[in-house]
């Protein structure tokens, strides 16, 4: 696991209790969002399962014996959803996708990579994008399938690519 440098708040015990004072809470939520994104980025994850947060070092600082409750995690994720930085994958709101880049940014990243590799007007499989040798150095390498799909769909709406399905595989054609 990649180590991240924890912000000072992580060792500040009340950081793990949702604050009653509005302004303080806003600062707290903002700090949590940054921390969550940074942590997921460092560990190359795209989803948070609320039910599994209690033993996750991100939400449970054993050194100071403080952890963020499930309700608190949900509060933060819902706040992130309002700014488009996260979205629940189902109605039960247990599993959340967290975007360390916005879908637009992901889309542009893939598109720029395709352009600079002369892949315009040719077809790539999504497997190639996620696991292919050519994308190893790209940030979107290994990106969660659903997140990648959503990003490409956003790109499709802008007319920069077209998603297609063949056999058991999904592919994308860049314009």
């Amino acid at each position: 696991m990649t180590e991240i440098t924890w912000p000072w708040q992580y060792n500040f015990p009340p950081f793990f209790t949702i604050q009653p004072h509005a302004e303080t809470r806003a600062k707290q939520l903002e700090a949590w969002q940054q921390l969550i994104v940074e942590y997921l980025k460092a560990t190359r994850q795209s989803t948070v399962d609320v039910r599994e947060t209690q033993n996750n070092p991100l939400f449970n600082n054993t050194a100071i014996n403080r952890k963020l409750s499930q309700e608190a995690v949900l509060t933060i994720l819902e706040d992130m959803a309002r700014t488009g930085r996260a979205a629940p994958t189902d109605k039960s709101k247990n599993v959340w996708e967290v975007y360390w880049h916005s879908l637009d940014e992901w889309g542009n990243m893939v598109y720029n990579w395709a352009c600079s590799n002369g892949l315009n007007n040719s077809v790539c499989t999504l497997f190639e994008l996620r696991e292919g040798e050519n994308t190893v150095d790209e940030e979107f390498h290994g990106l969660d399938m659903n997140v990648l799909l959503k990003a490409l769909k956003a790109l499709e709406i802008k007319g920069k690519c077209e998603l297609m399905e063949f056999d058991d595989n999904q592919g994308v054609k860049f314009f």
Partner: protein, 249 residues
């Protein structure tokens, strides 16, 4: 039979009064002239002194303090006005500049400390921001206190809260801190833990539950503290301004 006061006597008395008054104003005039002359001389000397040592005052912290003490001893405040002959001293400018920088530091750290900052942290950050030249580094706590006091003319937005033992907190959010709040801050500062609780205030300061509660809830309302409900015994209130990791972040 007692004679009543005659007209002559009354007139004589009136005449005397007029003469006294005349003499009085004459003396006053005299004194005033002498005073003006003295002040003139004093002013000239002070101006000469100041122009000669202007740079010294700006650069040397020790010198600046002595100059301040001298001014305090003769009852003048060189910071009181930017106009008039004090402006040639340029000493006001020094403190105004410092004042602006203090405001900047307070605003920049407000997001994490809620508007309370120790004088030490303030000084460390100021010195870091002011650049490496020696004259920028030599800012004393007295300089900071003098500058913050001047900021008070903007209302109660900037106040200094004495913590005792040569420690101060600078408060940069509007909202009066009463004696109880100050006592709470002093308690936290002396404990060195960055947190307090109801029971500490009750045990150490001998307060009633209500008194402790009301002081603490004020501080929550003002956003000066963070609430921590995960201690096994009771709710703790934390001051980011005194939390070491926050101060050095």
């Amino acid at each position: 039979m007692r004679r009543r006061a005659g007209l002559g006597a009354i007139q004589k008395q009136k005449l005397e009064q007029v003469k006294y008054r005349e003499k009085g104003s004459e003396i006053q005039e005299n004194q005033f002239q002498q005073m003006s002359k003295q002040l003139e001389v004093f002013r000239e000397n002070l101006e000469e002194f100041a122009t000669k040592h202007k740079n010294e005052i700006k650069k040397n912290a020790q010198f600046r303090r002595q100059f301040q003490e001298m001014c305090a001893a003769i009852g003048v405040d060189p910071l009181a006005s930017g106009k008039g002959f004090w402006s040639v001293l340029g000493i006001g400018d020094f403190y105004y500049e410092l004042g602006v920088q203090i405001v900047e530091v307070c605003l920049a750290t407000n997001y994490k400390n809620g508007g309370l900052i120790t004088l030490e942290e303030l000084r460390t950050r100021l010195v870091a921001a002011r650049g490496k030249a020696k004259k920028h580094q030599e800012i004393t706590n007295e300089d900071l206190l003098a500058a913050v006091k001047k900021l008070r003319i903007f209302g109660n937005g900037f106040t200094v809260v004495p913590m005792g033992k040569g420690k101060w907190l600078v408060q940069s959010v509007p909202g009066e801190l009463n004696l109880d709040h100050t006592l709470v801050l002093q308690k936290v500062s002396s404990l060195g833990t960055a947190w307090v609780s109801n029971s500490i205030l009750m045990d150490d300061l001998g307060w009633t539950q209500t008194r402790a509660q009301s002081a603490l809830s004020y501080m929550i309302r003002e956003g000066l503290v963070w609430v921590d409900t995960q201690d096994p015994n009771e709710t703790l209130l934390w001051f980011p301004s005194m939390f070491a990791d926050c101060v050095s972040a």
